[in-house]
C-alpha cells in the first residue's frame, strides 16, 4: 500500500508487517459487516423467496404475489413515498433560507441558533413522536388544528428532523462559496434574485441534491416517529414490517416488504452517492475563506430569509420541544409539579414496565457505550483504509468498494437488521451459542446503525491530510507505523471526539432494531418510552413525557459536547 519498488531485490520484514496490518484493518470490519449485517439481512430477504415445505426449502414466489396483490401493501408504499417526497421538498424549501441566514450572514447569537437547529437531528425518533403527539393532542398547543394521526402531522415531524441536514450540508458549502462570482453577475446587470438564480443556486446544486437524497432516505425509512404519530391509519414500509412481524407474526410477508424497501432505498442510495461524489468535487472549487456579511434586516434579500428562518426555528423546532417540557411538568391530576419525574423511579401504573425508567436509562447508557466503542473501532478502521489512495488501480477500486459496502447500513432499515438478527443469530456460524439471549445483540445492532455515521464523520478529516505530510515524515526516518501514529493519529483524533459523540447519541436513541432485540429487563429508554405511551393511564403518559425530556437532554448534551470538539472545519456529511 505504500507502493515503492515493485522489483523487490531486498525484501525487508516491515513490508510483511505492513501487509499484515492493513490486511487485519480490512478483515476485521469486513468480518463484522458479514456476520452482523449481510448474513442477517440476506437470510431475511431469502425468507421472502423460499417456503418451508415437507421436503425442504423450495423457491416459492407466491409470497410476493400474495403481498403485492393486497391493497394494504400499495396503500403503505404510496404513503411511504408521499410522506418522504413531501418531507424532502419541504425540508429543502425551508432549509435553503436557513442555510443562508445561518452560514452566510453574521448576527449575535448565531452559534447558539446553529446548535439549536442541530439538536432535532440527533433527538431519538420516539422522543420526537411523543413531542408532536403532545402538541397535536386535544388540549395541546395545536390541538385545534386536527393534526392528530394525520398526514400533515407526520410530514411536519419529518421536516423537524431533517431541517438540520439541509441547513448544515448546504450551509457548509454556501459559506465557502466565493462571493465574487455573484458580484460579477450583479456588475453585469443582474438583479439580486437573478444573480442568485443563475449563479449561486447552480453552484449549490450538488450540495442541495446530496442533502435531498439523504433526507429522502431518512424520511422513507422513518420508523419511531411514524409509529407514534401515524396511529392505525398512517404508516411506512418500515412500520408495516414491524407490525406484521410483532403483531401478526407474519414473517414471510414482512420479508417480502423488506425486499420492497430495499428497492426503494437502493434507488435513493444510488442517487445520494452520485450527488455526494459531485459535491466532493464541487467542494474543491470553494475557497478556504469563510465569507459572511452582517445580517441587514432593512434589505429585502436578507429580511425574507430571516423571517422564514425565525418562523421555522420558533414554530417548528422550539415549539414542540417547549411543549414537551411544559407538558411533562403537568402532573396526572392536572396540577403543575415534578410528579412525572418522581414517577421515573417506578415501573409505571399497573406495572407497565419490568424495570424502572432510571434502570432503563442505565441500560441505555451501558449499551450505547458498548455500541459507540464497537462503531468507532470498526468505523475508524474503515475510514482509515478508505482514506488511502493506493497506487495500483485494482487496490483503488477495492478501497472504493469497501467504502460503498459500509454505507449500506445507512439505507437498510434498522427494523430489517433487528429482525434479521432474530432469525439468524440463534446459532451464529453454526456455533452453539444463542446470541439472542446474551444481551450482546443490542449494542451490536446499534453499532451497525452507527458505523456509517462514524465513517462519514472521520473520512473527510483523514482525507484532508496532505499526503506529502506523510511523505515528509517518512523522509525524516519514520517507518509506516510511526507515520500512522505521529501524523494520522493526532490529526485524525480531532474527528474522533465527534465520531464517538455521534455514535453514542445515535445508539442512545436507536429504536428500530432495539425494539426487536431488547428483552424486558434490559429495555432501553426509547423502548420504555414507547411501551409507556402504549399503555392506558395518564400516569404512564406523564412518565413517557418526562422520560422523553430526560432522553432528549442527554442526547443533546452529548452532541453539544462532541460539536465543540469538532471545531470549525468543512467536510462531514451531516
Amino acid at each position: 500500500m505504500d507502493g515503492h519498488g515493485r522489483r523487490l531485490r531486498r525484501p525487508t520484514t516491515p513490508r510483511w508487517g505492513a501487509w499484515l496490518g492493513w490486511g487485519a484493518a480490512v478483515a476485521l470490519p469486513l468480518g463484522f459487516l458479514a456476520v452482523f449485517f449481510a448474513w442477517p439481512v440476506v437470510s431475511l430477504v431469502l425468507q421472502g423467496f423460499f417456503a418451508e415445505t415437507p421436503t425442504g426449502r423450495e423457491l416459492d414466489l407466491s409470497g410476493f404475489a400474495e403481498v403485492l396483490s393486497q391493497d394494504r401493501t400499495w396503500r403503505i408504499v404510496g404513503q411511504t413515498l408521499a410522506q418522504a417526497l413531501t418531507g424532502t421538498v419541504l425540508s429543502v424549501l425551508l432549509g435553503l433560507p436557513g442555510a443562508y441566514v445561518l452560514y452566510r450572514c453574521r448576527f449575535p447569537g448565531r452559534t447558539l441558533v446553529r446548535g439549536l437547529v442541530t439538536v432535532p437531528f440527533v433527538l431519538p425518533s420516539v422522543v420526537v413522536g411523543v413531542a408532536f403527539r403532545a402538541l397535536f393532542a386535544p388540549g395541546g398547543v395545536l390541538g385545534w388544528a386536527g393534526l392528530e394521526e394525520s398526514f400533515a402531522g407526520i410530514v411536519l415531524a419529518l421536516v423537524f428532523f431533517n431541517y438540520a441536514v439541509v441547513v448544515r450540508t448546504v450551509g457548509g458549502m454556501w459559506e465557502r462559496l466565493d462571493p465574487r462570482a455573484e458580484q460579477a453577475a450583479r456588475a453585469l446587470g443582474a438583479t439580486p434574485w437573478r444573480a442568485f438564480r443563475t449563479v449561486t443556486l447552480p453552484a449549490l446544486g450538488p450540495a442541495i441534491a446530496s442533502a435531498a437524497a439523504v433526507v429522502f432516505l431518512f424520511c422513507a425509512t422513518a420508523f419511531g416517529v411514524v409509529l407514534v404519530l401515524g396511529g392505525l391509519r398512517y404508516g411506512t414500509i418500515e412500520t408495516e414490517i414491524w407490525t406484521r412481524t410483532t403483531q401478526f407474526l407474519d414473517l414471510r410477508s414482512a420479508a417480502v416488504l423488506s425486499v420492497l424497501q430495499l428497492v426503494v432505498v437502493g434507488a435513493a442510495l444510488l442517487v445520494s452517492s452520485r450527488a455526494r461524489a459531485r459535491r466532493e468535487r464541487a467542494l474543491h472549487l470553494t475557497s478556504d475563506r469563510v465569507s459572511a456579511h452582517r445580517l441587514r434586516l432593512r434589505d429585502g434579500a436578507d429580511l425574507a430569509p430571516a423571517l422564514v428562518t425565525l418562523v421555522v426555528v420558533a414554530g417548528l423546532l422550539v415549539l414542540p420541544m417547549a411543549g414537551l417540557v411544559t407538558r411533562s411538568l403537568r402532573a396526572p391530576d392536572g396540577s403543575w409539579g415534578l410528579d412525572n419525574y418522581v414517577a421515573l423511579g417506578t415501573t409505571g401504573g399497573r406495572n407497565a414496565l419490568t424495570v424502572t425508567v432510571w434502570e432503563a436509562l442505565g441500560n441505555s447508557l451501558r449499551t450505547a457505550a458498548w455500541a459507540a466503542l464497537i462503531a468507532v473501532v470498526v468505523g475508524g478502521l474503515v475510514a482509515l483504509v478508505v482514506s488511502r489512495r493506493p497506487r495500483r488501480a485494482g487496490l483503488r477500486h477495492a478501497v472504493g468498494a469497501l467504502d460503498a459496502a459500509f454505507m449500506l447500513p445507512l439505507g437498510v432499515s434498522a427494523v430489517t437488521v433487528g429482525f434479521g438478527f432474530l432469525i439468524t443469530l440463534d446459532r451464529p456460524l453454526g456455533l452453539d451459542v444463542d446470541l439472542r439471549t446474551s444481551g450482546a445483540l443490542v449494542p451490536i445492532a446499534q453499532a451497525v446503525v452507527a458505523i456509517p455515521l462514524v465513517v462519514r464523520t472521520m473520512l473527510p478529516v483523514l482525507r484532508a491530510i496532505d499526503p506529502r505530510l506523510r511523505e515528509a515524515a517518512a523522509t525524516l526516518g519514520a517507518a509506516p507505523g510511526r507515520v500512522l501514529r505521529t501524523v494520522d493519529g493526532p490529526l485524525g483524533t480531532r474527528s474522533l471526539g465527534l465520531a464517538i459523540g455521534f455514535a453514542f447519541a445515535v445508539s442512545l436513541g436507536e429504536f428500530g432494531a432495539t425494539s426487536f432485540l431488547a428483552r424486558p429487563d434490559t429495555a432501553t429508554l426509547p423502548v420504555v418510552i414507547y411501551r409507556l405511551i402504549g399503555r392506558p393511564g395518564a400516569e404512564n403518559y406523564g412518565m413517557a413525557l418526562a422520560a422523553s425530556v430526560v432522553l432528549a437532554l442527554l442526547t443533546a448534551t452529548v452532541m453539544m459536547v462532541a460539536e465543540r470538539l469538532r471545531g470549525d472545519r468543512p467536510g462531514g456529511e451531516f
Binding site: R10, P11, T12, P14, A474, L476, R482, T486, L491
Partner: protein, 275 residues
Amino acid sequence: MEQARETAGLAVRDAVVRYGATRRRPGSVAVDGVSLDVAAGEIVALLGPSGCGKSSLLRAVAGLEPLASGTVAFDGDDLAGVPVHRRNFGLLFQDGQLFPHRDVGRNVAYGLETQGVPRAERAARVAALLADVGLAGYEGRSVATLSGGEKQRVALARALAPRPRLLLLDEPLSALDRRLRERLAVDVRDALRATGTTAVFVTHDHDEAFTVADRVAVMDAGRLLQVDAPDVLLCAPANTRVAEFLGLAAPDAPGARDTSRARTAAAATSTGHDL
C-alpha cells in the same frame, strides 16, 4: 561519470518514471532515461520548465515514486527495495509541509525523535539548528503563526536535523516573493555549505539555480539536456533548447521571448566571453 559503482554520493542510472501505468496502458513518461551523479558534498540544481519531470526524478530518488526501470544508488549501494524512511535522505517541499499539530521545536525534533536521540541532546540540536536558519528562540511558536519565509526556514531546519546523507529540495523557494527568494537562496546555500550537505535542488528559476548550485542539470521533457557548472553552461550551452531556456538568444535565433531575461543573460554571456 562512466562507472559510478564505487563513487561516493548519489548515482542515478537510466531512471524511468511512469505515471498511470496499468497492465494494458504504458502510462505517460515523466522521467525518460536520466543518468545523474552527485558527488559527496556537492550541490546540484535540477533546472527546467514546469512539467519537465524534475520533481518526479526527485521523488524517485527519495523513494516516493517507483522506478519503471533504471537504478538509484548511494555510495555504491543500490537503493531498490529500500523504503523511504530507511534511505536517510531529507526532503524539503515547496510549501514546507510542517506538521500542524506540533510547534516549531517539535517539528524540527521529529526526525531526531524517530532516531531515538535523548531529550537533552535533542533540545540542544533543535536550538542550534533554529539559530542556523535565523529563527533562534522560536521553539514554542505555533507553526500557524509563521510567515511563508519562516515556514520554509523551519522546514529546512527540520530536514537537516537528522543529518541526512542527501538533501532533496523541491522548489523550496517558489512560493515566496522575489526579494525574500533571493535572500533565502543565499541563506540556503550557506546552510548547505556549512553543514557539508550533499544536495539536489529542484527549481525552474535559473538565477536561483546559479546562486545555490555547484553544477546545474538542465532538464526538458523528461530528459537531461546538459549538466555543467553555471559559467560553463552560460558560455557554452549544448544546444538551442538549453540556450532558449536560459534566456540566451542564440545568435541566429531571432528574438528570445523574454526580453528582460535575454538582457541579463546577454550580460552574463559577455562577461563569460571576457573571461
